[in-house]
Amino acid sequence: MSEPLLQAIDLECERDERLLFKNLSFSILPGTLTRVEGANGSGKTTLLRILAGLNDAWTGQLLWCGKPRAYDRESFHRNTLYLGHRPGIKPLLTPMENLRALMAGRRPVTDDVLQQALEGTGLAGYGDVPCRNLSAGQQRRVALARLLIADEPLWLLDEVFTAIDAEGVSAIETLLQQRAAEGGAVLVTTHHDLQLPGMRRIVLGEGQSNE
């Protein structure tokens, strides 16, 4: 099955009167791992937000499973997992409550599954502690616990390795590779020097004149 999940054609985005990218085209196939590269301010985060459907200030075409994404936005959102700079974790709620709230609109998940996911990210025993009492890295791990229960075919991960220790980083690397091997598509941005076999690249800010 080599039909692309997400296909970008001639994407162009301008922010605050600065051209970030132009004529950007690529396909994201199932079973691939892609890294978005570029200098600071080259629009990596903006690109991910565009792909996730958070940023509407672009022109060009985005096809989801061969059809314009706008045709079936709900199916697109159901099948895409986006983790951004901001972890999406409420400091006043416990990790369990946070995960429950994050999954509630997506699909029914039992507490056991959530508990297992928290254990999987090394947060066993923290299930009932408000997240504001956790460290920055632990808070990110709460967000990352979603990767362990995610069944969305497309993952868009913006700076997932931020505030994660070395052990956690290698665990995530393994997870991403495993995910690609299973047929999921993963798109990441990171400052961490990520080198995985078979990794594809989208490079921003090269060959695109900022006029």
């Binding site: 996730a52 200030a57 951004g84 999406g88 994050l102 609109g105 408000p130 069944d151 299973e182």
Partner: protein
């Protein structure tokens, strides 16, 4: 780990019904609010303080207070709601839960509606419950207090609903609080007019059923239109962040 056997990950077809997604959003907001109880008290304290400014600043005479009491209470309640609106989306915006909300495979306007209803239950409703006490303090008679509370009960959800549009539009902007007031106060005028006007009409012994029905119509209109506008505004504000 899912689908270890089958090599391919299948697209997700099944989801959650919008109603239970709304319920989850509502429940989360209420839960967060009760973990930070001071934030719940602030608009109420503000309400009481603003009302007490009028006898102090204008006149404690019974005749003045009786005549203007309903208006004072309405204006104070309106300002209290306005003050609390800044928080409606801001915390969610800052910690990233708003992004995740927008990306849920659900109609956004329904989720926004759930948030707005939670906001009303946590700020508007307490104001309505507190209003009789303040009504007594400004020497309103029993009948006026009852009508006043009824208008507030119908009117405060409208304030929350219209306000959610302003909160969504000013999300992430500098000095969003003041700007929010500038955008929203003109839109609050009809509710204010009918809220206080109904109490005034009741005081003169006129039948108020028609006015209350009209306020009900405002509420229905706000319920049907405001969530769409807020959802659109949220997408725009997030797009800009």
């Amino acid at each position: 780990m899912s689908s270890a056997g089958g090599a391919l990950i299948k697209p997700v077809e099944q989801g959650v019904s919008p109603l239970s997604a709304m319920w989850a959003v509502f429940g989360r907001d209420v839960r967060v609010a009760f973990r930070q109880r001071q934030d719940l008290l602030n608009p109420l304290l503000f309400f009481v303080m603003v009302v007490s400014l009028f006898p102090l600043g204008v006149s404690p005479e019974v005749s003045f207070l009786q005549q203007s009491g309903a208006g004072i209470l309405w204006v104070a309640a309106l300002l209290a709601v306005l003050l609390s609106l800044d928080h409606l989306f801001r915390h969610d915006f800052d910690d990233g839960t708003l992004e995740q909300l927008v990306l849920q495979p659900q109609p956004l306007f329904l989720l926004v509606l759930a948030k707005t209803l939670a906001h009303w239950m946590l700020t508007g409703l307490p104001l309505v419950i507190l209003a009789p006490v303040l009504g007594v303090m400004v020497h309103l008679d029993g009948n006026s207090i009852a009508i006043l509370c009824l208008t507030l009960l119908i009117g405060t959800p409208v304030l929350s609903l219209i306000g959610s549009i302003g909160a969504a539009l000013t999300l992430g902007l500098r000095s969003a609080g003041v700007l929010l007031s500038l955008l929203i106060i003109p839109l609050y005028i009809p509710v204010l007019i009918f809220g206080t006007g109904t109490v005034a009409a009741a005081a003169e012994g006129a039948p108020v059923g028609g006015y209350l029905a009209l306020m009900g119509a405002f509420l229905v209109l706000a319920l049907t239109l405001a969530p769409f506008a807020s959802a659109a505004a949220l997408r725009i504000s997030l797009s800009n962040s």
